[in-house]
Subunit: 431 residues, 2 copies
């Protein structure tokens, strides 16, 4: 009988993992440079904690169950409730701003498809305690910064808006069922234009209002420019609209300070389905528009209160690994999937094993990745193995060399080979 | 309402995580230097896969459940079945030896106590495809190497034995119920000496046999020496005893080649409860004998066949993070729990934010960890925050400095401060 992994779950063999590890290292390094601090948290939480934000609906999409103590628990489908819990538990002592990140596994019981898995990793970046757009800008800058560091320049665009903006606009239009309109806008790019109009009409808008709304939604493009255009289409008398507008203007200024305004565009259609966003919202897409969103995030100032804490502003994003990998592969910047070795120590006789281990240990002490032969193989089989593990150098312990206290070093790239005294080799191999 | 994490699950706040990350980095680096390759695998597997090795008993100790598709699944309580599955899936193409490691989360539904949690990390290191003690020695060397790299010299000892040895000894004694004797030996250090003798008697040994067995079990101490002593107490006519003995002798030689024999001792009482070990077995303990085992491992040559593959020898170990942390704390080598920052950029007026962001981004490009003020705080509040994030330097953007294109750099360790031109600062800050 042979076993398989569950559907929507992934195995990563060494070559695949080596590439992933390079990507993960770049992501961690970039996020940390902005002063975000790594946290780690349980993968299993009480279901109650995860019901609060998302309601019963979440039950149909989680790996949740009763544990042996009959507690209702769930594998975490996102991290925000956990992070909120951790903030609330130490809200008195934590210095503000609280800048946290982590990239744990998460689980959702959804139908697996390209870019959507049942088990995935998601980078979470959050700032708590900052009410102003300075935090929104920093969070955006981290997101843009890591896309750039991953070599994706030209392949992505951040679409930015502010929930208050559309809120005010719909207010001014006298629309009561805002939820239905938001839901329609949220689906805009997933349906055809006629379908979209139908959705707006059935949400209670008349043709005139649909026309006005479309004009506003179409005010998209470069941040500062598009905001100017939008100014003529909305009433800044409305408090919510004004707040959203001014916040976006400040955000545009800040993104210019980061020299990153070119990676952002205004798109009033960005809503982010989840009801809890309160201000800035953004999504990162591939420029070709082929993939689902790579990032999603924004401001959710009510979250800490929702989880029992004192009110505390919050802004952040989540980035899953699955869509990112697809984008990187398409852009040709996914790292080469291969393992690397600095030295393979080749022994031509079992009697040289002591020297082989001595040399290997000395090289490992210097920080190198080193393998020796564990299978008493022939010269050619050892060479073949050295090749398969991507060894840069092979140290050859042959009869002649050993008799003279020497070792041959084969450069596996150039094929060149030299023979030097063991002592000199060790002196020269310090990193 | 306030929420808490589940019992036996841990939150890691930034300071705690910073210390853990240092430990994890050291572990990963050490294991990789021996040419072990990182893999990653699902946290949820079909329960069937995990029943094979451990039987129904495992059901009482796992977080297992029926998923929404009514599959019986489990959070992994160990990694071996998953690794075996992955080896079997690619047994045709994987180059031998297969040297893999990973350090995933695992879950066991046990009563939480010191060093035992419901959610923990476990380092897994395995070599597949090598029948000889060369692999056992390398696996042991990695284990010892990482204890040394963690600063634990003098705090640990590896107790080594071979299952074949005791098997042969019990054979020669004509003992039929070997399982009961192994179970008793496995508990030896958990019960008193009289209790232990009683267990042996009730397993069917007479006083004479108990005496002989105790003499053999007490042949512990330095590897090579103790093996010599043991030689006089067992019959090497027995095939199993001979194989175990010769394998241990070779292992002792190899550990001497690694210059690590001083960290190993023979202890024939080491059995490792799990039935699947077939040769070498070892456990790493704190020298004070206060804690449960830190490592456990050995040779389990039947594992791949058990999971449906062609027979393939295997040796490896697992090391949980919980006991290791306790040992490191007691030994005073757990890293300091603090976060670190290279630069905090202090702005004395909002009008300097553009420069602050410019400088911060320039420093981040050079690889530094940098924060700016997001809260328009006073000078002293910014200084206080800089202190709280462990900033090594504070860049002060004051009116006077800015007017002259200069910046002041405060060294937070010495308290010293100098004012230099922004351009010169940027030139000098290249890493």
């Amino acid at each position: 009988m042979r076993f398989q992994s569950l559907r929507g779950f992934r195995d990563f063999y060494p070559e695949e993992m080596a590439a992933r590890r390079k990507v993960l290292d770049k992501i961690f390094k970039e996020v940390q440079k902005y002063g975000f601090r790594e946290i780690d948290a349980p993968s299993v939480e009480s279901l109650e904690l995860y019901r609060i934000k998302s309601g019963e609906e979440i039950l149909t999409q989680t790996f949740s169950f009763a544990d042996r103590g009959n507690r209702e628990v769930t594998l975490i489908p996102e991290l925000t409730p956990t992070v909120a819990r951790m903030v609330v538990e130490r809200e008195k002592s934590l210095k503000r701003p609280i800048k946290w990140f982590s990239m744990p596994k998460m689980w959702r019981y959804e139908e697996p498809q390209a870019g959507r898995l049942r088990e995935f990793y998601q980078l979470n970046v959050d700032i708590f305690g900052v009410p102003g757009p300075e935090a929104d800008a920093e969070v955006l800058a981290v997101g843009i910064g890591l896309m750039l560091k991953l070599g994706l320049e030209g392949n992505f665009i951040f679409k930015v808006s502010d929930r208050r903006l559309m809120h005010g606009v719909l207010d001014d239009m006298g629309i009561e069922n805002k939820g239905a309109v938001f839901a329609a806008i949220d689906k805009r790019y997933k349906v055809s234009e006629p379908e979209f109009k139908d959705m707006l009409l059935s949400a209670g808008l008349d043709d005139l209002k649909v026309g006005r709304l479309l004009a506003i939604l179409d005010s998209r493009g470069p941040l500062a420019e598009s905001l100017q255009r939008l100014k003529g289409l909305v009433s800044l008398e409305n408090k919510a609209t004004l707040e959203g507008f001014e916040s976006l203007e400040r955000l545009a200024d800040l993104m210019a300070m980061y020299r990153m305004e070119q990676y952002c565009e205004l798109d009033p259609s960005v809503i982010r389905g989840l009801a809890y966003y309160t201000g800035t919202v953004f999504e990162c897409y591939d420029t070709k528009g082929e993939l689902r969103a790579i990032f999603g995030g924004g401001r959710y100032d009510n979250i800490i209160e929702l989880f029992g804490g004192e009110p505390m502003p919050a802004v952040g994003f989540g980035m899953g690994d699955a869509v990112l990998e697809i984008l990187m592969r398409r852009a040709g910047v996914w790292p080469e999937e291969k393992i690397a070795t600095d030295y393979f120590v080749l022994t031509t006789s079992p009697k040289f094993m002591e020297t082989a281990i001595f040399l290997a240990q000395a090289l490992r002490d210097r920080g190198y990745i080193v393998e020796t032969d564990l299978l008493s193989r022939s010269f050619s089989n050892q060479m073949r193995y050295a090749n398969s593990i991507g060894a840069k150098h092979v140290l050859i312990l042959g009869e002649k060399e050993m008799a003279e206290g020497k070792v041959s070093i084969k450069d596996m790239e150039t094929g060149g080979q030299e023979t030097i005294e063991v002592i000199k080799f060790l002196e020269s191999s310090s990193q």
